[in-house]
Symmetry: C2
């Protein structure tokens, strides 16, 4: 990560963490176990990519990131709920995430399901209230977040991902495999990343042209992010990732499985270039989002 | 149910069902399995109490129910998601609901979790967009729905309910038992019923005094509804309810367990009287909500 971006990220991660602590229900309030479970996963060392994208989406359109912290936290809550539910025994059945026991391993399945439900619900509670914003942007933002999180977005991607598990994608034609892979990741990863950057932009009163550019940016870095993850799964230290078994062992449909390492890296680079191109209309103000796009592929080298 | 209320209910149930069909994603759109699972539970013979309360909440404050159908459907989606997740093996582990196989029995656990997540997300998607409503009511309504559905509301009630399972409440003092029982049901049932009636009212531009009255009405009928459920569990035909084992067999903390049948019925009647009293400020326009309150205890006799 470039030093200037690193500084920006570190600054906003601290601010976002404080805001999350403020918005989340306290552990000493009933239902204590659920509140503890919510906080356990929120403060589990996430990169805060989505909230920083909300902030950067607002700032590239001329509004201070301080004004969009509620929505920034909402996006992190939705991301976290999705991880908790994805890790459940009935879903990916993961015992570890980032090297720590997963939510249901610590709090039990029932509490993990409810903690996920509660985080999703809380996200909409805080996204719908923001005293720092005037006008009609709030309903639009809530709507965009819900679209990014629902079956047209994140849940839809996870659903197809699960359907393809255990190598079931291998029965499809090559063309169909590529289509399904793109659909999974446009939905599972890119949609919520788009929702993040567009939430900040909408709150800042972005023009339709600016919004269109940022949606394209979000789609490209979302896909690039996923390709980078697939590459990392092959090249990185399993212990560092805290994952159970490699994608290959799990016969997972990934970019590396379909295209190999070199071509996957190439595709990620091309998407990052496209993402950066879509930022041109913002001039110098686009530096955070531009450097962020670079950082996403940096991880794969 | 009084004939006039029955007619009102039947009329609005048909309208709500059509609106649900309109707002829900189609079964032939990917992810098909999740969309099928969502529709399976939405069209499983629910009473549509919450959407009718949204409609009646708007109409008692002078707005046509036709204008609040989006929010009416949102409340039914949230209610339905909660049933799907409550029935999961890790939660109440129910195989049947209203005599039909539960969602996870038909579609599997992973799909049931995702279908619940998707319904909750969809609820906020449609609640945040309503072209028929002017002004700033929408964010307030979204917020009220999220409060009613989250850990201060429905999820909170379910969490405490699960904590008290298997007779764990028996270790508490009598006073504490009564407190916990009230807390469970104010949260688990009443909070979403309050959110329903207040959503309609807010959309109709209700005054603070009207909103206060309807929140009290919602709390009272919500609790009465739960007491009625506890009574029904004892007196009704198990097959008709489609439930697995009685509350007594499950050592469940219920009003009947703490107060007996007669006293429970008395408490429900008193709550209904209180609910009806809070409607006085609406004059004749309060008839739907008033008759509805009567209907709730009617079921127990």
């Amino acid at each position: 990560m470039k030093p200037k971006l690193k500084k920006y990220f570190e600054k906003w991660c601290k601010i976002v963490d404080k805001a999350l602590d403020f918005y989340l229900p306290k552990e000493n309030v009933e239902p204590k176990k659920i509140h503890k479970a919510m906080r356990y996963s929120i403060f589990a060392g996430g990169k805060r990519l989505r909230p920083v994208l909300v902030v950067a989406g607002a700032e590239v359109c001329g509004m201070s990131g301080q004004k969009v912290l509620a929505q920034a936290c909402a996006l992190e809550m939705i991301h976290t709920y999705s991880l908790i539910h994805d890790d459940l025994p009935a879903m990916d059945d993961d015992d570890l995430r980032r090297g720590r026991p997963t939510n249901h391993k610590v709090f039990g399945e029932a509490a993990a399901i409810l903690a996920g439900d509660a985080l999703l619900t809380y996200a909409f509670k805080i996204a719908s209230k923001n005293g720092k914003i005037n006008g009609s942007a709030i309903p639009e933002v809530v709507h965009a977040i819900a679209v990014g999180a629902g079956t047209e977005g994140m849940v839809g991607g996870q659903a197809i991902d699960i359907e393809m598990e255990g190598g079931r994608w291998m029965k499809l034609s090559r063309k169909k495999q590529e289509e399904v892979l793109d659909r999974i990741h446009e939905n599972k990863t890119a949609a919520l990343i788009q929702a993040s950057v567009i939430s900040g932009a909408k709150l800042a009163g972005a023009s339709p042209k600016q919004q269109k550019a940022l949606m394209e940016y979000g789609r490209c870095i979302g896909l690039a992010f996923q390709i980078a993850d697939d590459v990392l799964d092959v090249v990185a230290d399993k212990k560092l990732l805290g994952k159970k078994g490699s994608d290959k062992e799990n016969k997972k449909l990934t970019y590396v499985a379909l295209f190999g390492l070199d071509k996957s890296r190439e595709m990620a680079n091309a998407l990052v270039a496209k993402a950066k191109k879509s930022l041109e209309i913002f001039g110098n103000r686009g530096w955070v989002l531009s450097d962020l796009a670079d950082y996403i592929v940096e991880r794969t080298h």
